[in-house]
């Protein structure tokens, strides 16, 4: 009870500005059973113009509309921003002489115009010629909103295509398509193949929320298949995860199939087959030596990690689901049936994700850590035996 008394109360006049948006708040309330969509938003904006011919309080209304935009889902619609700028009265805020141009003419209105453009910039909306025309008509050419518009037009075109790994603006809602997009986004090899091992089957009782069998999507490149075929069957492979991947503002999780580094004596040099054509030899043994001016290599110890054989995204992160992924992988990787599979899974919490991330970089020749892994190995071997 003492805490409310210790906090100093705001003075009485500060409460008045809070009530001002309430005057226009009614315009944005859904009437009847209408949903919050673009049509109702446009209707609210037009209602303000109809009720207020002189547009008194338009700055507060525009600020309120900017706050309401994400609720109505129109924050990335250019025509809505132009309509908001159209709420400003025309030809009133333009400076008419040099003295008005020197000082900020109508500063609150210019700040509001800059706020509209700022929200456009934050959501990546490119202004158009109509926006420019509206700004010239409202504020004039030499004004801060016009300056902001020019900067946006200049730098948006420069930064439009600089992402080498573009993510679509609207992510697919289907978990299967989202998994395919994520796997394709992560895989640097373009010849890798995305395989759907299992579709999600909804349960009859609980609907889509709790599918009886989750979806499993995997990706593997031909090089990874060849590397897995050459893997020593006596050394285990590990299924690790889940690891996070951010696609815009959505976080998805993936698992990897990897192995430890082979010991140095097992690193056999791949033999080149016999020469089949004398005019085009498969191996050239040139002795061109590199000089100091031609050395583009960084003098640094390379990070040596075990190879990654495959990646997958599944609707669930438990071992039973990942076992189905391994069984699906065996169709294209027959040697996987003879290799023991060890599952190193972490709980899906933020703290353990880092630990599992660190787990992914275990040093070479790491011994098994405890009885849990032994049990998992035994279970995996039993599963292999059953399959």
């Amino acid at each position: 009870k003492d805490e409310p008394w210790l906090v100093p109360r705001p003075p009485e006049p500060q409460r008045k500005p809070i009530k001002v948006p309430a005057m226009h708040e009614d315009l944005f309330k859904p009437s009847g059973n209408r949903e919050r969509d673009k049509a109702s938003f446009l209707n609210a904006v037009r209602s303000f113009g109809a009720h207020n011919v002189r547009k008194r309080g338009h700055v507060d209304f525009i600020y309120l509309a900017l706050r309401k935009m994400p609720e109505f889902g129109v924050e990335r619609d250019l025509s809505v921003y132009n309509l908001l700028l159209d709420v400003f009265p025309k030809e009133v805020f333009r400076p008419r002489n040099v003295i008005q141009r020197i000082f900020v003419h109508y500063p609150r209105q210019q700040e509001c115009g800059v706020a509209v453009l700022e929200q456009m910039e934050r959501h990546g909306v490119m202004p158009s010629a109509e926006t420019e025309f509206l700004l010239i008509q409202i504020f004039g050419r030499k004004s801060y909103p016009m300056l902001k518009f020019l900067r946006m037009k200049l730098w948006f075109t420069r930064f439009k295509n600089i992402n080498p790994y573009p993510v679509p603006r609207d992510l697919p809602q289907d978990p299967l398509d989202l998994a395919k997009l994520g796997l394709r986004h992560m895989e640097p090899d373009l010849s890798a193949k995305v395989t759907v091992y299992q579709m999600s089957l909804p349960s009859d009782s609980t609907g889509m929320e709790d599918p009886t069998q989750p979806h499993i999507v995997g990706i593997q490149s031909p090089d990874q298949q060849a590397a897995l075929a050459r893997h020593n069957p006596s050394r285990p492979v590990f299924v690790e995860g889940p690891f996070p991947l951010w696609l815009r503002n959505k976080c998805v999780y993936y698992h990897i199939l990897r192995a430890d580094l082979p010991p140095p004596e097992e690193e056999k040099v791949e033999e080149i087959p016999e020469e089949w054509e004398l005019y085009y030899p498969q191996k050239l043994d040139l002795e061109y030596s590199r000089s100091g001016w031609d050395d583009y290599e960084f003098d640094v110890d390379e990070v040596t990690e075990g190879p990654v054989f495959a990646m997958c995204m599944a609707g669930a992160h438990d071992q039973a689901t990942l076992i189905k992924w391994i069984q699906g992988l065996q169709e294209t990787n027959p040697t996987l049936a003879q290799i023991p599979v060890v599952f190193r899974l972490a709980r899906s919490t933020g703290e353990l994700l880092t630990t599992s991330r660190l787990e992914g970089q275990s040093p070479p020749h790491s011994p098994p850590k405890g009885p849990e892994e032994d049990d998992e190995t035994i279970q995996a071997e039993q599963q292999q035996g059953q399959s």
Binding site: R151, M186, F243
Partner: protein, 304 residues
């Protein structure tokens, strides 16, 4: 006796400070960019035969040891300067095409960096820096939160940053990196798909320029594979206090003070970024001097 008592109190406080420093070193959080680089004071013995000689001996000895240490550093710098630039032969420096500036192989490599987030100004983001499990790369992880601090003024917030410390020489003189003969920044990273901002700060003595930096974006791919990011220095644009300036000019590479990575993409949630090493190299195929020409509409004075 009271004099001896005060002396003991001073020593205990210094030891406590050292413990606090060692504890803070694990998280490496701090707002100041400048700091001592692994500078440790030698402990002076407390047991002395007579109390009236203890403060004089310890104080003078500490001062003398500090001065000797700095003079030894100065001697090393002079010897290195006589040998060649950066202590290497001139021929090797002239023909160098790639150079590793920062790498993460030991615990001491993390002391060259400062991590900061908007928790220092009242936000809720947090960031940590440590070595990865195989001691081959640095792991930068934490949580980003775009909730603004409740100070009545902030409307937007949410950033996590990692900045390299300014290199220091003898007598705490400011040094800088000279990357004049290179044209591309090289980073070997492994992220989680989030976009980062790479900032390069120049060495300047003016107070008004302390917020000026050159920035560009680093888009991480995500996934278990390492990613090689090559950013030409011509792509860095000039910004001041986070705003892109109207007058743009190329980045001058002879006095680079520090480099930084900032995450502020307005997406709340955990993040991680692994960094293997950071280097600079010369790309013979890249001949662009500056990517952003000035606009006559925004800068009419430059075109008169």
């Amino acid at each position: 006796p009271p004099f001896v008592g005060n002396h003991c109190v001073d020593y205990s406080s210094s030891s406590l400070q050292k413990k606090v420093t060692s504890v803070d070193r694990a998280s490496q959080q701090g707002k100041t960019e400048e700091g001592l680089q692994g500078h440790d004071h030698k402990e002076v013995a407390l047991d002395a035969p007579s109390p009236d000689r203890t403060p004089e001996v310890s104080f003078d000895k500490a001062i003398r040891d500090e001065a000797i240490e700095h003079f030894r550093r100065l001697k090393d710098e002079i010897v290195a300067h006589l040998r060649g630039p950066d202590g290497r032969p001139l021929q090797e420096v002239i023909m160098e095409q790639a150079r590793v500036v920062w790498q993460f192989r030991e615990k001491e490599d993390l002391d060259k960096w400062i991590v900061t987030s908007d928790k220092t100004i009242g936000g809720r983001s947090e960031i940590f820096l440590k070595m990865s499990k195989n001691n081959r790369s640095a792991l930068l992880y934490g949580t980003l939160s775009s909730e603004p601090p409740q100070d009545g003024d902030s409307r937007q917030s949410g950033y996590c940053a990692m900045i390299s410390r300014i290199p220091r020489g003898a007598f705490e003189r400011k040094l800088s990196y000279d990357w004049s003969q290179f044209n591309t920044l090289y980073l070997r990273v492994r992220g989680d798909g989030r976009p980062w901002m790479v900032n390069i700060r120049q060495d300047t003595e003016f107070i008004q320029r302390k917020n000026q930096m050159y920035s560009y974006f680093m888009f991480t791919r995500g996934g278990p594979y390492w990613q090689e990011v090559k950013i030409p220095f011509s792509k860095f644009f000039f910004s001041n206090q986070g705003r892109v300036r109207d007058v743009q000019g190329p980045l001058v590479l002879d006095k680079i003070s520090s480099i930084g990575f900032t995450l502020s993409d307005k997406v709340d949630g955990p993040f991680f970024l692994e960094i293997d090493f950071i280097g600079v190299f010369t790309d013979p195929a890249h001949t662009e001097e500056f990517a952003y020409e000035n606009s006559p509409v925004l800068n009419p004075r430059l075109f008169r």
